[in-house]
Symmetry: D2
Amino acid sequence: MSEISATTAAMKTNNNKEKQIGIGIIGYSIGKAHANAWTSLSRYYYPSKLKPKLVAISGRIKDKVELEAKKFEIEKTYSEWEKLVNDEEVTVVDNCAPPSIHAEPMIMAAKLGKNLVCEKPLARNAKEAKAMLEAAEKAGVKHLTGYNYRFLPAVNLVREMIQDGTLGEIYYFKTAYLNVNEGYDDPNFPFGWHHDPNVAGYGALSDLGTHALDLARFLVGEITSVSAASATFIKERPLEEGSTKKGTVGVDDVTISCLKFKNGALGILEAGWVMAGRTDFLRFEVYGSKGTVRYNLERINELDIYFSSDPKRTSGFRNVLVVNKAHPFLKNFWWNQGGGFGWEHTFVNELNHFVNCLAEDMPISPQGATFYDGYRNCLIMDAIMESAKSERWTNIPSS
Amino acid sequence: MSEISATTAAMKTNNNKEKQIGIGIIGYSIGKAHANAWTSLSRYYYPSKLKPKLVAISGRIKDKVELEAKKFEIEKTYSEWEKLVNDEEVTVVDNCAPPSIHAEPMIMAAKLGKNLVCEKPLARNAKEAKAMLEAAEKAGVKHLTGYNYRFLPAVNLVREMIQDGTLGEIYYFKTAYLNVNEGYDDPNFPFGWHHDPNVAGYGALSDLGTHALDLARFLVGEITSVSAASATFIKERPLEEGSTKKGTVGVDDVTISCLKFKNGALGILEAGWVMAGRTDFLRFEVYGSKGTVRYNLERINELDIYFSSDPKRTSGFRNVLVVNKAHPFLKNFWWNQGGGFGWEHTFVNELNHFVNCLAEDMPISPQGATFYDGYRNCLIMDAIMESAKSERWTNIPSS
Amino acid sequence: MSEISATTAAMKTNNNKEKQIGIGIIGYSIGKAHANAWTSLSRYYYPSKLKPKLVAISGRIKDKVELEAKKFEIEKTYSEWEKLVNDEEVTVVDNCAPPSIHAEPMIMAAKLGKNLVCEKPLARNAKEAKAMLEAAEKAGVKHLTGYNYRFLPAVNLVREMIQDGTLGEIYYFKTAYLNVNEGYDDPNFPFGWHHDPNVAGYGALSDLGTHALDLARFLVGEITSVSAASATFIKERPLEEGSTKKGTVGVDDVTISCLKFKNGALGILEAGWVMAGRTDFLRFEVYGSKGTVRYNLERINELDIYFSSDPKRTSGFRNVLVVNKAHPFLKNFWWNQGGGFGWEHTFVNELNHFVNCLAEDMPISPQGATFYDGYRNCLIMDAIMESAKSERWTNIPSS
Amino acid sequence: MSEISATTAAMKTNNNKEKQIGIGIIGYSIGKAHANAWTSLSRYYYPSKLKPKLVAISGRIKDKVELEAKKFEIEKTYSEWEKLVNDEEVTVVDNCAPPSIHAEPMIMAAKLGKNLVCEKPLARNAKEAKAMLEAAEKAGVKHLTGYNYRFLPAVNLVREMIQDGTLGEIYYFKTAYLNVNEGYDDPNFPFGWHHDPNVAGYGALSDLGTHALDLARFLVGEITSVSAASATFIKERPLEEGSTKKGTVGVDDVTISCLKFKNGALGILEAGWVMAGRTDFLRFEVYGSKGTVRYNLERINELDIYFSSDPKRTSGFRNVLVVNKAHPFLKNFWWNQGGGFGWEHTFVNELNHFVNCLAEDMPISPQGATFYDGYRNCLIMDAIMESAKSERWTNIPSS
């Protein structure tokens, strides 16, 4: 089903309610960044077409939920997500919980006609993700998967240069997301839900690599097959800080894969969370027949661009600060020229886009990632892990 | 008068009112960054000790004032700053107007017992600044000059390393603030108040150089004498975009100065706003007997640090991403480790510091810049311009 | 057969002759860098243990051979390599010809008891390489494959840090050699021997990737299996500049591969010669449990090193200029501290090492690459290309 | 007297002898770099127009002189420079001794009709330098001052872009030469001739700053006045390593100066040899009305160039690798494209230029620095030191 028709259906159901768009957030970790964006987007892009109101937040640990509720002036708190989803004032369910708590709430919310925002990865595996996508499409609601880096000005400048042919035929796309998370390079860093496949799906792949794969699709297009390897270097971790009881890490510390794109380009993906020295190294390079670009999230507003057409005497990578009114998203962004755009604004842009799409019945995609994109991403991750086991190139189903 | 006793006086006068601290903002340009910070600081540092409420905003152009008022949900708008200053609900007057409108409102507000925030430079010259300082001290109110870069995590890490001796004796401090503002390298960019000495005081020096001089004082200490040169390269500009009528630029495009510090260090200052390729290049390097650091605002969270004590085999500038809980301001900052801290958060930190000082009767200085710092800064700028004319080293009065 | 015993055999055969070591060079392209190194090594490392004398040079094009001969004051020129190999004055045959002319001359020279230097890749495939290795070992002569980047100070600093445990357990090694050669990104760049598999073996893989694979083995150890993809983007080229007659490119423009190392590390290799903006991008990154290093030949003397043990407050990649007496090769190198070491000195170091090994009957390996290393490298390249076809992980034979 | 007429005179005197151009080198420290260049220049630029022959070398310490003589196959060694200067076979006297031994040998050699190469600074002060210039001009011989960085490809690319107007009107030129020499940041590094004003003239200024000043003149033009400050931070040093006997450092550790250029540009010079973390940091930035360039010798072949005319969407500093045939000096340089050009080749280019000028009676200037340039440089250094004392702007005599 095309996204546009889904959109139309969504408007039929929700149009009236959207004037007083009510947000319910499940989870308080990355949930903070969402809450901040919902709260402030109407200031950054004034006037916003709909005014989001934070209605409710849910989470397991009462103290933490209440703290976030006070911080963001949210009236209602729930310990069970079911109540949040069923809250009539909630018209958008924003799922910031771990992957194991993605499918059920989203499917229930879809059935209730709520619009859907879900953090990445959409699910633990493609099967779950497909059920979510189908529920959303059936309900005709808006659905967005939280690939917030689609909303970086630099990334969009790259996309424009690929789409308008500036970079020519794309030969090669390499991407990596490497870091140490909050200290995963230390074997004494305790076991958490990220290390548990039942909660997280995969490890570094679904925590980090999934972002890089989404950028691959956003920028270069569909991936048709993969050949991967994966390893767990720190095989067990203390169950709590300082504890001698250990939990077995059931997920990958490092996963790498060769990629083949539908358009003939080759690619490489690297994901790793035990990579000393890397803080937030989401990197990509795009090599085309007419030029090359490279990007690193650690320098969030910088993009290096090389044009083959420049005279040899003065050709070189241009270190472009993607911070002025000529750049995507920034024409109407309210800081003046300069280093104003930061990480939190990726969420502002993302949720503002969602709000605009609700208000004007516009498709979320291709600027934003839908559940379809979330599902495709899961298909690729599943194939990567299958390939790592089978030691063969593995095809991604085309639908 | 010491700042501490001023503080005590301030609390006598204002203590009761401060529970419902009411902010009035004069000006809507950099005023946006202030309004955003006042609005959001209690979320970033929850719970804040006092809850700022944006009470009023004033400015010359009615439409623009009202737009900002709506954006930030400010009830009252004024076309004349006098009314804002006299508004009883306003207990903090936050002056975001051009320098020529600094002294009068601040002095009037001081007399009314209001606490004071004033953008940089504090005034067009030291004489004006001194009157403002005296008024604030006499009134016993809190006063802050808007040198927001004192609130960068990286800058504070440098300050700690100087103060605790990590860098040893400081030999040399070089700093530059170079950019093209919104397009000043283009001779067709129209004449504005920044080009008019009656409004701005000086040009690149008081728009940009003043920040660099404040960092010099914040990091290395008092400057005792200067020897400078100054030039205006684009001598006239169209009065309006596309107009053939020209205005004569009465201020400096580039100003440079050698500096001598009280502690024996040498220094260099550069300020320029016609510097092609520079976007927001606030740069400094500190050379000490035990190490060196360098910083560039264009890479807001990076600091390069060299320690002489490192073994020669593996010594080199460390490219430190100043983004984790070990770094100044970030322990309780609510983003997780990573690239969360951006330009707008310098204002959040600055005004949050102001709020904390009000709430707990703590001195603004040395973390924040007071009107005393603003006055010293004006003294140095006056000396620089005098030196550029006299072609001699010029001493800065010690008080 | 171990290399040491081969060495002993070599000395028996050659010891007397070596005093007047006579060099014969086949080929004049990279041959220039060799000739320069042979000529100057005794100045850089004075006194050298043996004094190389350039005796003869051979090549197909008479004018070019004579030009190089005059430039380097070489008395004899040959149009046929057979004569050079058989020249009695020649005791070292230095093969700088294309891969298709590697096996025959080297095997003949070995049989004549000459010591052997051969440019990389050692041969067009492992079968040829094996024959060369066997001939060299049987003859008991010294043999070196021209992986000159083993002789970079920065690379050796990395090797030391891996071998002494400074970087801990190696998790991940990524390496790339990307460039545009002399203009291969331009489809009008004419067809040359590099594009002909009968001469070159493979394309970007054996021109560039082979260097990166050698560094992988030199730094991390043996590779046990690979999974690769390969593509030719510019499928035909004019036979001569401006010609409408086209030659079909029979080799890879881009080849990528996942790698598994014997010690459990994962790895990635990238080779490409149509990569706009890349000039001489031989890059590697080594991620270990205790730190990370990264290197780029385009900044030949820089090495970025991260130590996990540094305090979080001041940790970051150290940008080490590998240019002083504390660094490998530089203690006795005759430039003072500073940027003295350049690309041509990799050959100086390499051939000086060869001379030292001859003089003192020391093994070429592990500092230098032997024909064994050249053979292993060919085995890996063959496996990569086989894997790219079979779409399966392919094992590298252990011997 | 114009240089061209001097050249003609030189040729009258020396023309016949030059076929067998005989080089005599005074000093063996930087002398090594000269000897290497004389020896190898005919290989890099084959065929050279004249073949230099190293005839003699002189120096105080017999062992060191003889070592260098053997290394470079120089037949004659002298302990006294007078004998070398008077050696009939010597037609070019290449003075690599400390500044205090510059004037006498050069003047004597000029009188004998020898051509002159002299390391920088030309003399300890302008008075000495003037006498040298006059002697050279009177004798009608060729004279070159050893500002080898005029022969960097990147520097010449900048010069071309200034001369052809690419960068527009030059607004501002900043330059610095900062390092720690061989360890001067360590107070225990022993006293040497560089610390003695009777031998060296000045300290960091004449060791390092002089190079930066030459680039200022080479790129931007004459300097008309200066205002400076200077400091000695490490006031005494052990006379020998580990000794308790101390020598008083009589020269500057750090010298900084504002500059005014004849063409209206402003400038800054920094020189310092106690600057931790700096290895060979010869840096300059040129800001013009149409663009900006920046260069750092530590990355010898890189030049960052910004063009104001680039579209804002993709404008940024281009990181140009100045290593290919489109770049100055490299068209006929015999390494292929890539990182071939290193520090030692600045001397190769410089002395090859000298040889070409001798062979074809071409003027050394403006590509090379003559004694006139060396004299002007001394005038500026004298003025800088005078200004540092008088605390006034000091004019440079125009002739």
